[in-house]
């Protein structure tokens, strides 16, 4: 024998669906590190690279200097990896960027006075011609120093109120 039951009762109560409520947190602050991409290359570099600028002088100036950012990894051996040569009026001067912590000549300046300053080279004529040569030595075959923000600073001396 089979028994077959049937539901004959029901309720009017509507079943409420749970509602998602959004609560804003007024004092919340999100600190974030966002990275779009990380690229890696396996490069091999020439042991020495020499790059020479175009003529830098359009109008004669009285002083000239170089500003440059350098990234020389700390694990590189203690030697010189980047050399800057400023050729002024046909004469080569080894210089250091004006923002560098290294000792050396950082400004080439026109002055009639004989002066000896550890950070400056004084020349007796205005600067009519200048070229910058940068020599980069790589570290082994696979590593190199990186340079950026190569900027030349020009000064027009007395005409501009500066000496």
């Amino acid at each position: 024998m089979a028994l077959n039951f049937k539901d004959i009762a029901y309720t009017d109560t509507e079943t409420k669906k749970p509602e998602a409520k959004v609560v804003e947190i007024k004092s919340a602050r999100r600190h974030v590190v966002r990275i779009s991409d990380i690229e890696a290359h396996r490069k091999q570099f020439q042991s020495e690279t020499k790059m020479k600028s175009r003529e830098l002088i359009r109008v004669p100036v009285d002083s000239i200097a170089l500003f440059c950012s350098e990234q020389i990894p700390t694990h590189f051996a203690n030697q010189k990896y980047v050399t800057y040569i400023m050729t002024v009026n046909g004469v080569d001067y080894e210089i250091e960027p004006i923002n560098s912590q290294r000792a050396g000549k950082k400004i080439i300046k026109h002055s009639e006075l004989d002066s000896d300053q550890p950070y400056a080279v004084y020349i007796k004529e205005s600067i009519k011609s200048a070229y910058l040569t940068i020599v980069i030595q790589s570290h082994g075959v696979t590593e190199t120093p990186y340079l950026s923000n190569i900027k030349i600073l020009y000064g027009r001396g007395e005409e501009n109120g500066n000496v």
């Binding site: 919340a28 600190h31 590190v33 340079l147």
Partner: protein, 320 residues
């Protein structure tokens, strides 16, 4: 827009009718006043009318022809819009570059000529100002490359004091994560700048009554260590981020992926261009990070400040 293909397709279609002996239809198509009008002409069919198979085939053939033309026209228009978009993007990029150059010039004048009063002009040199073998990566010079192979990078671990992604950011009445999900670690190595990975930490005042489990009640910055594995030993990575306030805290490398040694511990805001005036020993803004050649690299980043994102969370009100 070159629409000559419409005419030639029409001629082919008319020739097909002529071959089939339907000269009247062929003539109608070939001599139409408007060569760009659709071939298919809707015809009312009486419910009791006996359908003609030939006529139905002709309608279908005409509809097929018209759809082919619509398809080609859409493809041509799409191409035109694409090239217009690309052209606009190029022009906007150039404008953006020009603005950036001008901003840099003004900044140089303020910072450099301010610090060194004997100078009154600053000129930035680019790769085009040099001859010789110099190579550059977006304005960063380095020794000439004799061999270059792109190396595949894998993100093997991310650890920190917060959570991955942009969950809980609520913008314009919707969750930002639903529009732009930043939880996927592969976004860091997919070669695309339109995707990104985020590591977040949410801090709030203790007075908040409604809280969720990932909230903190302090002012500690978000910190995360990202472990990368390369298919070959690498000595440099370029980390690209649109955030200036991102600090590289530490770099560690490993030969076996188990024992790491720290090779850099100075905190640097490597993406902040203004730092160039204070610190000479980094190429700020380039994203270049150097280390001894290794296959395993761990980069520890931290945030520096917080965003203006609106933070919220949702819960289900289950009261009946």
């Amino acid at each position: 827009m070159d629409r000559s293909f419409v005419k030639s397709l029409r001629e082919v279609h008319a020739a097909k009718y002529a071959e089939e002996g339907n000269t009247e239809r062929a003539r109608e198509i070939a001599t139409a006043e408007n060569p760009y009008s659709p071939l298919f002409k809707p015809r009312e069919v009486h419910p009791e009318e006996e359908p003609s198979l030939d006529e139905l085939n002709m309608f279908l053939s005409d509809i097929g022809h018209d759809l082919t033309i619509v398809n080609k026209e859409l493809a041509l228009s799409g191409d035109k819009f694409k090239s217009l978009m690309e052209d606009t993007k190029l022009r906007l990029n150039k404008v953006q570059r020009d603005i950036a150059i001008e901003e840099e010039r003004l900044r140089d004048l303020n910072m450099l000529c301010g610090d060194h009063s004997e100078f009154d002009t600053v000129e930035t040199l680019t790769i085009d100002d040099f001859e010789g073998g110099a190579s550059d990566i977006e304005g960063v010079f380095h020794a000439v490359v004799v061999e270059d192979a792109k190396t595949r990078l894998y993100v093997t671990d991310v650890k920190g004091n917060g959570y991955e992604g942009n969950q809980y950011v609520y913008k314009n009445k919707q969750w930002l994560s639903a529009i732009r999900d930043t939880t996927d670690r592969n976004h860091m190595t997919d070669g695309s700048l339109s995707t990104a990975f985020e590591y977040s930490r949410i801090n709030a005042d203790e007075s908040e009554k409604a809280v969720f489990s990932l909230m903190n009640f302090d002012n500690i910055e978000a910190e995360c260590a990202i472990t990368l594995t390369a298919s070959y030993p690498i000595s440099m990575v370029q980390v690209l981020s649109d955030m200036e306030d991102i600090i590289l805290k530490e770099v560690s490398v490993s030969d076996d992926g188990a024992v790491y040694r720290t090779v850099m511990q100075d905190e640097i805001a490597f993406n902040k261009r203004e730092e160039i005036y204070r610190n000479q020993s980094q190429t700020f803004g380039s994203g270049i990070i150097c280390f001894p050649a290794s296959r395993y690299v761990k980069l520890l980043f931290r945030s520096d400040g917080y965003t203006d994102d609106k933070i919220a969370f949702s819960y289900y009100d289950a009261k009946m």
